[in-house]
Symmetry: C2
Subunit: 303 residues, 2 copies
């Protein structure tokens, strides 16, 4: 089962020709979830050939313009393209007022059910689940209420031990119940234990999105052992004062969070437009965390 992240935008507040504002697609077994939706996300989705209607849910971290100003346009285009499937947008309080104001004044309407769910940015809670994933809020430390998101694949079913099943001549009709943990009773009454008929499932993976935030240690416990962490690194260490003042992180701080939470992979993102080159971000993070990666627009990362 593929669990991947496509970076659509990894710049900070000022869009440049190099980098766009925040947005990314999390793809779990070909289901799409959109995290953040900066201005122009529609265009990025098209460039990357992501079908708008395949987006299941939208998660907005906070209501600074570079994280949500593409949302209204995207919701309207989904309508114009004929969407009927419901969508829920998770976001800190205030988004509903913004969206209602737009729809009231523009006279636009949309034909599909749209739900705005307010995320409590003070609590680490499960806020969503479907057949594939669970999503948890991650309180962050920014200038306005802000939540990261932890996306965990659900426990997967074990594989059938085909060799053993063939040897015992077990009919196909029993495969599903075996995958779901049942033992099997042979025609002669013998019970074959489930462990003998199955092989362990693949490990469920997890992805944490943490942007925007100052260096924030309470995160560490909540994202412990996560497979992949996307952590903002707006600045490098020489601007740590500016990071503190604007409640952003340096690449060094992002790497420290990654190291302390024992994540397996770190992707740095949300780079200030002052950096044309990101070699310093990488070098600085490498001193603390082995092999950090730089977010890159249009690139898929395996979780």
């Amino acid at each position: 089962m593929a669990f991947r992240v496509l970076i659509l935008g990894c710049g900070s507040a000022i869009p440049t020709s190099r980098r766009h504002p925040s947005a990314q697609i999390v793809s779990v077994d070909e289901k799409y979830y959109l995290i953040d939706c900066g201005e122009g996300t529609q265009s990025r989705l098209r460039e990357n050939k992501i079908k708008f209607q395949r987006i299941e849910q939208i998660f907005i971290s906070h209501l600074h313009g570079d994280h949500y100003l593409g949302l209204i346009g995207l919701l309207q285009t989904m309508h114009l393209l004929g969407r009927t499937k419901p969508i829920t947008v998770f976001a800190p309080g205030g988004l509903k007022k913004i969206i209602d104001t737009h729809f009231e004044i523009s006279g636009h309407h949309i034909n599909y059910p749209l739900t705005i769910e307010t995320v409590d940015t003070e609590k680490h809670l499960k806020i969503f689940e479907d057949t594939k994933i669970e999503v948890y809020s991650l309180p962050l430390d920014h200038r306005v209420p802000c939540s990261g998101y932890l996306i965990k694949e659900k426990q997967k079913l074990p594989h059938l031990n085909i060799e053993k099943i063939k040897a015992l001549n077990i009919p196909v009709a029993y495969f599903n119940s075996i995958k779901n943990g049942k033992d099997y009773q042979m025609p002669d009454g013998t019970i074959i234990k489930n462990e003998e008929l199955t092989l362990p499932a693949e490990k469920s993976k997890s992805y944490a999105y943490c942007s925007d935030t100052a260096y924030y240690e309470p995160l560490i416990e909540q994202i412990k052992n996560t497979d992949t962490l996307y952590h903002e690194a707006t600045f490098t260490d020489e601007l740590s004062d500016r990071a503190l003042q604007t409640k952003h992180s340096t690449a060094k701080q992002a790497a420290t969070i990654a190291f302390k939470s024992n994540v397996k992979q770190l992707i740095l993102g949300h780079f200030s437009n002052r950096y044309a080159q990101l070699t310093n971000h990488l070098a600085e993070a490498k001193e603390i965390f082995e092999n950090p990666l730089l977010a890159e627009e249009g690139k898929w990362f395996d979780v």
Copy 2:
């Protein structure tokens, strides 16, 4: 004096890889005015190397998303880039509420004076003037209150008749007053009439932006003899029912308005995303108006 229009977006509501939502720069003697500001206008400005801070005023036709969703991002970027010069945004009622809601919830502020002026979309009035231009509202017929804009260069000063002035040995100190219409008194008391000392000024030009609108005859009188008309042509004639229903125009209707108002040049724009090719738009308009032009993103048109 150069009076030109740069098309930044000439698509309709659904942005595609071919066309972006509405926005254009009107440049009068190197002063920039922005008309409409669809999502992504910031990026279009950068692609076309237009310095954000040189934009003097912004005119929004109506509050459908494809005409204003890039505005908040642009206003914020202007702030982040250090703007101190005031700006006024002219728009139909409602924009102030949209902008105030965003700033209240996002906690953003901007350091330069921002004024939102409400345009009465029922009246043809002078709404703005500076040293170069006068701007008039143009009531349009759309599904929500909507105003086109007529931009007229101010009457220009005549040229000095240098030959005559040299022959009469008139000192430089009098040049300004002569340009401004004064006669000249010779040392012997003879009065030389201003007409003898000047040559006619270049004709002041005018540009009308009419998008979005159904076919709307009251426009004709208001834009009579305009040099260049940008008129929306969302559809071609075979979709005239759809045009009527959505209060848009066909290419044929745009050309009819251009013909009846005796404009010198017609630019068709605001094309529905269903048209990959625009040859039918052009052919249809040509039957009524000689030599119509198709809007093209990234292209400057002389008014």
